[in-house]
Amino acid sequence: MKRSLFILLLLFILIPFKTFALIEVDITRGNLNPLPIAVSPLSIDENSRKNFEKILQKKNIGSEISIVVEKNLKTSGLFNPLNKDAFLQAPDIANLKPRFEDWNLIKAQALITGKVNFVEEKLRVEFRLWDVLAGKEMMALAFTTVPNNWRRVGHIITDKVYERLTGEKGYFDTRIIYVAEEGPKTRRIKKLAIMDQDGANNKFLTLGNELVLTPRFNPTSQMVTYLSYFRNLPRVYLLDIETGMQEVVGDFPGMTFAPRFSPDGKKIIMSFAKDGNSDIYTMDLENRIVEKITDHPSIDTSPSFSPDGKYICFNSDRSGYQQIYIMNSDGGNVKRISFGKGLYGTPVWSPRGDLIAFTKLHKGKFYIGVMRTDGSGERLLTENFYQEAPSWSPNGRVLIFYRETETDDKGEGFSAKLWSIDLTGYNERLVDTPTDASDPSWSSLLSN
């Protein structure tokens, strides 16, 4: 009797260790059971804590960083960060050697622990990811950076955890550039604004003196191309985010609009409108050579390169109504790919290359959807009164776009906000911005 009980106990202890396959998160379908994960506050010694409090005005930078990680994980929809009140083990001890039974008890399947140090005026952070069921360390990394970068450390930790558990690169150490909006619907004031992916560190880049639209990052996320109505001449501009230097792109005798960078960052592709006809052009930023890519009496706009630079998808009404087309990067071999009911606009090639995201208008409703690059497999992710302009997360798993509300009988109640949704169609979320917002563009991963 005693002996069999012993064996039973032994089995219970052994079973978890027998799980040789480490935890994995499947991101290819809607995740209705997000992985329970415990994010232990990063431990910090008293001396380091005081130093960081002086520099950053944060009482405990270790906890603050873990809150950034926790919020990121929650927003991804793939993880369920557990309530810290239930944690049994102190952060410093957990980081040395977690007592897996304790974490198992609160149903955590993964655990993040870590330590923060003040080293020669710098912030040194180490963190570990643990598989609670298998009782194993999955990853251990350390970074050193300037204290002001503490939020980025949180984002980088999230990216590493996300990558380790999903097998795909993360999208947390990224920024969003967008148009901040204020004022009545008939006289909106619009400014370029930039913020971290989680809404922190919001900064306005223009003053609102002129209308600005459709900002887009270059591949290194240091430059932005956008449309400005400076001096009432709508033209495509280039802005260096660090220096604030701006310049007009090309010397066109009319409106240029709908700009985007080529995947190598060397060209800008855009529309130029003349005499009631919009065609697509590229301009090489080095030698300033302008090339006409489409030549058709219809509206050709919203061009977007494939990630390998070989193809361009764009919007045209050459069939009579707005549809999506693809062509070779030199303008040859134009093919229509959207054939569903309704109008299609704003095609954007996914960074993975296999999908094109779009806006669709059908029977008075707006949809954000995706289709394969040959137009097959159309999937609508979300329906609304008005929404458009999807932009891909750098790993191609999330789309950010903007939505406008219907006004009431008096024309009141207008607002524009950023939203995000997973490629799966799940995890739709409002993205917090200090003002109304539109035209979001997602940066590449800032660190790798």
Binding site: S271, A273, G276, Q322, G345, E404
Partner: protein
């Protein structure tokens, strides 16, 4: 119907025929209006089809010279009423030969931003082409598209949208 290639239709010759055909023309207008009423789904007091026909938002360049013309959804074709307005503008511009103008093209909010910028430009150019056939020099006209950025009516209903689909002639000097 989809493209605004009105330049080919309305040549200067029409001007000469104008007086002769005036009566026939008026009858034709009446017929068109009737058929439009008969076929349109909605014909409120202020819309014909989905083209705005009211005067709520209209301002005047001079007495009897309205400043704007309206368009059907996704269209840049000038309606009969629009042509009449533009002929009045052309007459006024011929009389005031020092005036230069900006044609501001607009779209309603029910379209994607970039396409609407192109559509606004196309609409303003439809108006420009028509003014040019009535003898107004292209160097007196500049075109500026606002897409959906500057609605006059902030409503979210078909009537508000019809007011916003417009080309407005603005004195530039």
């Amino acid at each position: 119907m989809k493209k605004s290639r009105i330049r080919n239709i309305d040549q200067g010759a029409i001007m000469k025929l104008n007086k002769i055909l005036k009566n026939a023309f008026l009858i034709a207008v009446a017929c068109l209006a009737l058929s439009a009423c008969a076929t349109s789904k909605k014909s409120t007091g202020q819309m014909q089809g989905d083209v705005y026909t009211g005067t709520d938002t209209v301002e005047y360049l001079a007495s009897g010279v309205p400043d704007r013309v309206f368009f059907a959804t996704n269209e840049s074709v000038l309606t009969t009423a629009s042509r009449e307005t533009l002929r009045k503008q052309a007459a006024w511009l011929r009389k005031n030969s020092d005036v230069t103008i900006v044609l501001e093209g607009h779209a309603d909010e029910r379209g994607t931003r970039e396409y609407n910028l192109a559509l606004g430009e196309r609409r303003a150019n439809a108006a420009k082409d028509y003014l040019m056939t009535y003898g107004i020099s292209s160097n007196r006209i500049s075109v500026l598209s606002y897409g959906k950025e500057r609605p006059v009516d902030s409503g979210s209903n078909p009537l508000a949208w019809s007011k916003n689909r417009r080309s407005v002639t603005v004195k530039a000097n």
